[in-house]
């Protein structure tokens, strides 16, 4: 069973990374957000380095949300979803595999790009490492929560911003704990672990709840 699931995950990632797949556009969007913020806030590096982790997190959140409509819509449009149904694998594991593949293609590049973009914001090395670690642990949670929304709205055909707007309130706890954990390395001697472990918990809970909820939503949307 691992074989077909790995194939689904790999296929999702590969198709997303190809031209027209939308993964690298998300990365460019992340860069665009980081570039635009200093235009709005001013180039004061002192200020940017203090709020840098929050800017990186918000950019990653927006890039993830806007890429969500690709998760199921493409498969539904070209009919491969019916084929995936026919494999007989549990739909919950299929959803988990697709979400993982999607994260590999859209979330992981953000994590890799974060240290580089953090240099643009003059974030110090320790906070830079902290924010990268929180993004590594937190972006799967964002993808998983978004998977539920994407599965719910796959049949509606207007995707895009609608999914992003509806999913956004539920990703706020992930954002809060991610920034909180990264910020402990900048402000005062507060411990890093409590908010970080909450972040880990959110991802783990998401890894259980999202496949179940997403599969149920897909069954309703595609009946």
């Amino acid at each position: 069973m691992i074989g077909p699931l790995a194939t689904i995950a790999g296929q999702t990632a590969r198709l997303s990374l190809k031209s027209g797949g939308g993964a690298l556009v998300g990365l460019v969007f992340f860069l665009a957000v980081i570039t635009v913020v200093p235009f709005g806030l001013g180039p004061d590096l002192n200020l940017l380095s203090k709020i840098g982790p929050a800017i990186l997190w918000i950019g990653a959140l927006l890039a993830t949300l806007l890429g969500l409509d690709r998760l199921f819509q493409d498969d539904r449009d070209d009919g491969s979803f019916d084929l995936i149904f026919l494999t007989g694998l549990p739909l919950e594991l299929i959803v988990l595999a697709k979400a993982f593949g999607h994260w590999l293609a859209t979330g992981l590049p953000l994590v890799v790009a974060a240290p580089v973009l953090g240099l643009l914001l003059d974030i110090a090395p320790l906070p830079l490492g902290a924010v990268t670690l929180t993004l590594l642990v937190g972006t799967p949670a964002l993808t998983l929560i978004g998977t539920i929304g994407a599965a719910l709205m796959v049949g509606l055909g207007r995707g895009g911003l609608l999914i992003a707007v509806t999913v956004l309130p539920f990703t706020i706890p992930v954002l809060v704990f991610g920034v909180s954990a990264a910020a402990t390395t900048i402000i005062g001697p507060t411990p890093f672990l409590p908010p970080f472990l909450m972040l880990v918990a959110l991802t783990l809970v998401g890894a259980v709840v999202a496949p179940i909820a997403g599969a149920a939503a897909l069954r309703t949307s595609l009946e």
Binding site: I148, L152, M153, G155, L156, G157, R158, L162, V165, T166, L168, P169, F170, I172, A217, T220, S221
Partner: protein, 244 residues
């Protein structure tokens, strides 16, 4: 004895509400008249806040109705998903804009009250932020209904989203107890009873009742419009040869 199941018939619902609606509006307007008179002329000024406290008589009932609207939508969502009540999704879709309007009213009146009292129009404390998130959820649901072509499919999706978002309601209610907030702690619905004096509590409840009647009247009118809208759509589809 008419049960909820009797109202499931849209025609009967339209007939009943046709007879009831004028009375609901009449009661609402009388209640508003009495409530506003009590709020502005009978209730005493606060010993600390002076006359500004009178914003409370609009702000608090609006906030209550903002949450009440979402509770009604959650009930309607259960009606759609669990009991498949035919008018449940009509109810949810119709209540959302009314609830959103009262949420907006609560946010604006609170903001106008905050400027003279706290010195700021807004602060990102737990109560204000969670109500803003509630407003965002209302708007997201309204956008979802407007974007969907098929009302039936959209209603199931919306029902799931309403139930998931209901987690925000206890967060709003208890936010002033769980977190250190600028917003005043609970002074009416508390275990130890209200801390507001009866001379203000009375007008507050009258205004709450009156605005609830306004809420009910607007929701009923919206439901009637939605039923008629769906009938028109069915007629258009039939005329175009789409059905039967």
């Amino acid at each position: 004895m008419m049960a909820i199941s009797d109202l499931a018939n849209p025609t009967r619902f339209l007939g009943l509400t046709n007879r009831l609606l004028p009375f609901v509006w009449a009661a609402a307007l009388v209640g508003l008249g009495v409530g506003l008179y009590l709020s502005f002329f009978v209730a005493p000024p606060d010993y600390q806040q002076g006359e500004t406290v009178r914003i409370m008589f609009i702000h608090v009932p609006s906030a209550w109705l903002a949450m009440f609207g979402y509770v009604l939508m959650a009930g309607a969502a259960l009606g759609t998903l669990v009991w498949r009540h035919p008018l449940a999704d009509v109810a949810a879709k119709s209540i959302a804009p009314v609830g959103a309007a009262f949420t907006f009213l609560a946010l604006v009146t609170g903001s106008l009250w905050g400027k003279p009292m706290w010195g700021t129009y807004w602060v990102w404390d737990a109560r204000l932020t969670s109500v803003l998130v509630l407003f965002l959820m209302y708007l997201g649901l309204i956008a979802l209904w407007r974007a969907a072509d098929d009302p039936g499919r959209a209603s199931r999706v919306a029902a799931v989203l309403i139930l998931v978002g209901a987690v925000n309601l206890p967060i709003i209610k208890f936010s002033v107890d769980w977190w250190n907030t600028l917003h005043q702690p609970a002074s009416v619905l508390r275990i130890d009873g209200p801390t507001i004096d009866a001379s203000m509590l009375g007008p507050l409840f009258v205004m709450a009742l009156a605005l609830t009647l306004v809420f009910a009247a607007l929701s009923i009118m919206a439901m009637r419009n939605e039923i008629l809208r769906r009938r028109i759509r069915t007629l258009q589809l039939t005329a175009a040869g789409g059905l039967g």
